[in-house]
């Protein structure tokens, strides 16, 4: 008879094995080749590749606009998720499924249609341009595209959490004399905050890596409206694989750090919520 201790849940070793193999093949090996390929470059040229003025300018555009776009999505995505999960109205199902469209649409199609809408003679652009808002071939254009692709992430992470909220706590708060605003701010919002961070992180990660939709609407002007993924493609087009992977490394590291911070914030918000309860 074997003395091996049995876990209460069966299948731990099998599922862990599958999980690790899958992660290794799908994520770890591809990502580590990026570091290996760029390592042939030598420290000096690696540094030159990742700090040339155009590349630096592109980091600012990519990370700055991604930050703003996912912040916008966090705000409006919250409202959309709230409306879709708390209220029932005609066309509810239609609007609910339309949220997923940016997931499903090929990004190039999204880019081309956004450009058609927001350029100077487009349906929406024709009204924005006279107001001095250059809504295509500008930073604003990049912002529009990144907001578009990130929107579903916030809505879809918040929706199940809002639906799962315990209404009795809200009712208890109300019966104890708290105003509606206070109930929302003190009870509802803190319990949604972790999910909001997750949604924000997903939207942000998606925005950083987005290429297909942005290049159509950004105008791609060096030093002004170039995103980092385009810089990588430019290196590839010149057969400079190592420089391309060097910049990819930088993106990877910065994205990883940012996601780490967001995860820490999320963790912190969970702790705060628990402490309050």
């Amino acid at each position: 008879m074997s003395n091996k201790r049995q876990r209460i849940l069966p299948g731990f070793h099998l599922t862990l094995g599958i999980c690790l193999t899958y992660l290794t093949l799908l994520v770890f090996i591809p990502l580590s080749t990026i570091f290996i390929r760029s390592s042939g470059l030598g420290w000096e040229s690696f540094w030159r590749a990742i700090t040339s003025p155009q590349v630096i300018a592109s980091y600012k555009v990519t990370f700055g606009i991604s930050f703003l776009a996912s912040l916008t999505n966090a705000f409006f995505g919250f409202i959309a998720a709230w409306v879709l999960s708390r209220y029932r109205f005609p066309g509810h199902g239609f609007f609910d499924s339309i949220v997923d469209l940016p997931f499903a649409l090929p990004t190039a199609v999204a880019g081309i249609s956004l450009t058609a809408l927001y350029s100077q003679n487009g349906w929406i652009g024709q009204f924005l341009y006279p107001l001095g808002i250059k809504s295509a071939y500008s930073l604003i254009g990049i912002y529009i595209a990144l907001t578009f692709v990130g929107f579903p992430f916030v809505v879809r992470t918040l929706q199940p959490v809002i639906e799962g909220l315990d209404r009795e706590i809200e009712e208890a708060g109300a019966s104890l004399g708290a105003s509606r605003w206070k109930v929302f701010w003190k009870i509802v919002f803190p319990s949604l905050l972790p999910a909001l961070f997750t949604g924000y992180a997903l939207a942000f990660a998606r925005a950083i890596g987005e290429y297909g939709s942005v290049i159509f609407i950004s105008g791609n002007m060096p030093m002004r409206t170039e995103i980092t993924p385009l810089v990588i493609v430019k290196f590839l087009e010149n057969y400079q694989y190592q420089q391309a992977t060097a910049v990819a490394c930088v993106m990877l590291v910065i994205s990883f750090l940012i996601l780490l911070i967001i995860n820490a914030l999320q963790h912190w918000s969970v702790l705060i919520g628990q402490a309050k309860n």
Partner: protein, 326 residues
């Protein structure tokens, strides 16, 4: 990517096991030309040898196609926009470095040049390169870092400026700086630039291959006209056999014939029909209403070949990058 290609070719080829199959890896604007040329060649080859030959085409950006072949796309022949792209394949060891001397006319069966497309009636009065730097003119050309044709555009402008300003590099740099200051959008590829100009109605002049412009005129004769500048660059798209692949697949003789037939009268006429300038002067003369005479220079004459031009203008930190630094 190559697996997708393999998969597609598996499906396509399975019913025709007896036929010889060739894969021609080419760049974007040659699609319609090779569709017709492939039929003509299959017929010719059948009559000559009795063998069935089926030619598959693959199209995309020239540089991307070259990288796909280097990474294992099974091309028998490559027919690309720049000699530099085939040089890159040669450096990867798939064909000898002297490939360009193996076929007539420097392995360049058909030519094109860089010209302008303006809106009907030429409202801004654009007649030559010098007009492109006037204040208020919007010029549409893609990004030379990501687009092959954009490099030709850039070099054509530089070459004209050299001639016009007494071979002075400084003045040429000044000229292209002013030119790119008039470019509101740098699309990543030639098609994107065409869309910006035609669909978004942005810009007064589009710089592009003559063959692409002729196609635009054919589609929209009432909207645009072509302007031929006083001097431009002679673009010589090149073709080559990929030795490693044809030897492995046993398709050398038919692939060689496929390329040689491009230089035949029939091959040249089909190219001329599809908006390319023939490299045969007699055939070119047959189509002279479509192809007005133009003074051109070659990359070798003015820039000492592609690798020199790339180093000087398009590498990281080279002249094109400097245009945008200050």
């Amino acid at each position: 990517m190559k697996y997708i290609f393999c998969f597609i070719s598996l499906i396509v080829f399975s019913p025709s096991l007896n036929a010889i199959e060739l894969l021609n890896v080419s760049y974007d604007p040659t699609r319609e030309f090779y569709l017709e040329y492939n039929q003509a060649f299959s017929k010719y080859w059948k009559e000559k040898t009795g063998e069935e030959v089926i030619i598959k085409q693959s199209h995309g950006g020239s540089g991307r196609q070259a990288r796909a072949v280097i990474d294992g796309l099974d091309a028998d022949v490559v027919t690309l926009a720049l000699a530099a792209d085939i040089d890159a394949i040669a450096q990867a060891g798939l064909l000898p470095v002297n490939w360009q001397s193996r076929l007539p006319m420097n392995s360049s069966p058909y030519r094109s040049t860089i010209a302008f497309l303006v809106r009907k009636g030429n409202p801004k009065g654009i007649h030559d390169w010098g007009d492109l730097i006037k204040p208020g003119i919007q010029v549409i050309t893609p990004n030379p870092k990501t687009s092959g044709v954009a490099r030709w555009n850039f070099l054509a402008a530089w070459g004209w400026a050299l001639k016009n300003y007494g071979e002075d590099d400084k003045k040429a740099l000044d000229f292209v700086k002013k030119l790119y200051r008039n470019v509101p959008v740098l699309d990543s590829g030639a098609r994107g630039a065409t869309t910006t100009f035609q669909e978004r109605k942005i810009g007064d002049v589009l710089i592009n291959w003559e063959n692409e412009l002729l196609l635009a005129i054919k589609q929209f004769p009432d909207e645009y006209e072509i302007i031929i500048p006083s001097l431009s660059i002679l673009a010589e798209p090149v073709v080559a056999l990929v030795d490693k692949n044809v030897d492995r697949k046993g398709t050398r003789s038919v692939a060689q014939a496929y390329l040689e037939y491009l230089f035949s009268d029939e091959g040249q006429r089909i190219a001329a029909k599809h908006f390319y300038r023939s490299s045969n002067p007699e055939i070119l003369a047959e189509f002279k209403t479509r192809y007005p005479e133009i003074k051109t220079f070659t990359i070798d004459e003015v820039f000492g070949g592609w690798s020199n031009a790339t180093k000087k203008f398009f590498d990281e930190g080279a002249i094109f990058d400097q245009i945008y630094l200050n």
